[in-house]
């Protein structure tokens, strides 16, 4: 019962919006927009009609068969996102632990970090092209350069906020080194790390698209831009729809992982609320 209700809550608004758009988008558009602008906003049925051919199915061209854009463009994009996001997690958490546990290091690095954080990753794209060349490396670097900040800064806060009694417990029982890092520092900072990772994920999806807009020959962002430039608006909107779906799936996956990692945190909070 409870599960059913929750599913209903999740699905209710998107489903309603979908139905409304389906039936009325063509009519409203015809009412509101002058004829020459209707071209830019195709109706939802039209977008859905081109969706499978555009993104999912093998393409037949006079020059021969091409693989579907799912394997040719979407999957490479997602792999780059995974690599960039994964590296950002690794570097962000490692640096965050180092900076969070050392006061001198924090004093030294904080102004620099604030400076670097304020640079929009998009502004770095041309510089990165020059440094790392045209290719996957640059795209992954763009994703890292945006994703790393929320992870790094939240990890620093998490590591700074470890409980002094638990720290004393570790000291008096001589829990040190890697064991201490694994079972005390990282676990203790995990709620903040997860918060940072969640913010980084949405930044990562945006940067995945942006990194493909210049000097690119494949990718989800590249293909969407190609459709825009080729006046293929139904196909372009289908791409935007796909991007949104990818966002939903990734955030659901994230929630699944979070629930596993933070079982103790949510349980403890419920227990505390019940007792007070």
């Amino acid at each position: 019962m409870n599960v059913l209700r929750r599913i209903l809550f999740i699905v209710a608004l998107p489903a309603t919006a979908f139905v409304i758009l389906w039936f009325f988008s063509a009519d409203i558009r015809d009412e509101l927009l002058p004829r020459q602008k209707r071209f830019f906003l195709p109706s939802l049925p039209k977008i859905l009609e081109v969706f499978p051919d555009t993104w999912l199915l093998q393409r037949h061209t006079p020059a021969g068969d091409l693989p579907s854009r799912l394997t040719h463009d979407v999957v490479p994009s997602l792999i780059r996102l995974g690599e960039g996001y994964g590296l950002a997690l690794l570097i962000g958490v490692a640096l965050g632990v180092a900076i969070g546990s050392s006061r001198p290091l924090r004093a030294l690095l904080e102004p620099v970090l604030e400076f670097l954080r304020a640079i929009p990753p998009v502004a770095l794209v041309p510089v990165l092209f020059l440094l790392a060349g045209i290719g996957d490396t640059t795209k992954i670097l763009v994703i890292i350069s945006g994703c790393i900040w929320p992870i790094l800064l939240n990890t620093v806060e998490g590591v700074r906020g470890v409980d002094p009694t638990l720290a004393d417990t570790c000291r008096s029982y001589r829990v040190g080194g890697l064991l201490r890092l694994r079972t005390f520092i990282l676990r203790s900072a995990s709620p903040q790390i997860v918060t940072g990772a969640r913010q980084a994920l949405s930044i990562g999806i945006i940067l995945m698209v942006i990194s493909e807009l210049k000097a690119s020959s494949e990718g989800l962002g590249h293909t969407i831009q190609e459709f825009t430039e080729g006046f293929q608006y139904p196909q372009m909107w289908a791409g935007v729809l796909l991007l949104g779906l990818i966002g939903i799936v990734l955030s659901l996956l994230f929630r699944l992982v979070e629930r596993r990692v933070l079982v103790w945190y949510h349980g403890q909070r419920v227990a505390e609320r019940a007792s007070s």
Partner: protein
């Protein structure tokens, strides 16, 4: 076994100096159960933290097993007052007890055996797979005690471990600590502000003054080894000792109050 010599500790913070301990000297023999009692704010916890090597003294010396303490000493375990915050909330009960053994580099089967034994010794054999926050306060403190037992310490320090549990649980835990001490024979230093508790538990009670803190009296408790919540507490000798300790602590408080007024 434990030796505290002319110990002085001044906390330095925000331009204000606080003298937590002025001049403390006492010692504890191997296998002895000693309680330190004194008014709140007299620096009892500071003494334990010094013995545990978590902080260092301003002057004077602290020794454990004949060696001067300069960091956490070998074979010494500590049970903290804040049980809720000394257990790792992301580890289940068994893993909490096991962690110090992992740090010791003990083999897995040996660890499992010790964890099982220690949890059984505190009556928590069934709670091994629970998370600490699923347990009551008294049970959490039992887990902390089990963790200390599993560590097989020669010296066990306990810092007001029962300050935050209800009276019934407290009585149970007192008897548990007595039985653990009798069974494992470690040297036990127990800090409390509860006068009844100190007399009921210990072989010897060290009475501290109010801050600036000195040792007022080192009192042997000549009660039979087998203690019982009902009989011991109504024993004439218990009442007498309790009375004596109470008068001492009260006098110390009044003295410091007079000093503040004067």
């Amino acid at each position: 076994m434990l030796k505290v010599q002319s110990l002085r500790k001044v906390y330095d913070g925000h331009g204000r100096q606080v003298e937590a301990l002025r001049d403390i000297t006492f010692s504890v023999n191997a296998g002895e159960f000693v309680c330190v009692v004194g008014p709140s704010g007299c620096g009892k916890t500071t003494i334990l933290r010094l013995l545990a090597g978590l902080i260092s003294p301003t002057s004077g010396e602290v020794g454990v097993e004949g060696r001067t303490v300069s960091g956490p000493p070998d074979g010494l375990a500590m049970v903290f007052q804040e049980y809720g915050r000394s257990l790792f909330p992301w580890l289940r009960v068994a893993a909490n007890v096991e962690l110090p053994l992992k740090a010791k580099g003990m083999a897995k089967p040996e660890r499992a055996e010790l964890v099982r034994e220690s949890l059984a010794a505190v009556g928590l054999a069934d709670a091994a797979t629970a998370y600490p926050w699923q347990l009551s306060g008294g049970m959490q403190q039992r887990v902390a005690i089990a963790r200390a037992i599993a560590f097989q310490p020669r010296v066990l320090l306990m810092d007001e471990p029962f300050a935050a549990v209800d009276a019934q649980t407290r009585a149970d835990l007192e008897d548990l600590v007595r039985s653990v001490w009798q069974r494992f024979g470690m040297t036990l230093l127990f800090v409390t502000h509860d006068i009844d508790e100190s007399v009921y538990l210990a072989e010897r009670v060290i009475i501290l003054s109010s801050s600036p803190t000195v040792v007022l009296e080192d009192l042997a408790v000549d009660l039979p080894a087998q203690r019982d919540q009902l009989e011991t507490r109504s024993d004439a000798r218990f009442v007498e000792l309790r009375h004596h300790v109470y008068a001492q602590v009260q006098a110390a408080k009044n003295q410091s109050a007079a000093k503040t007024v004067g």
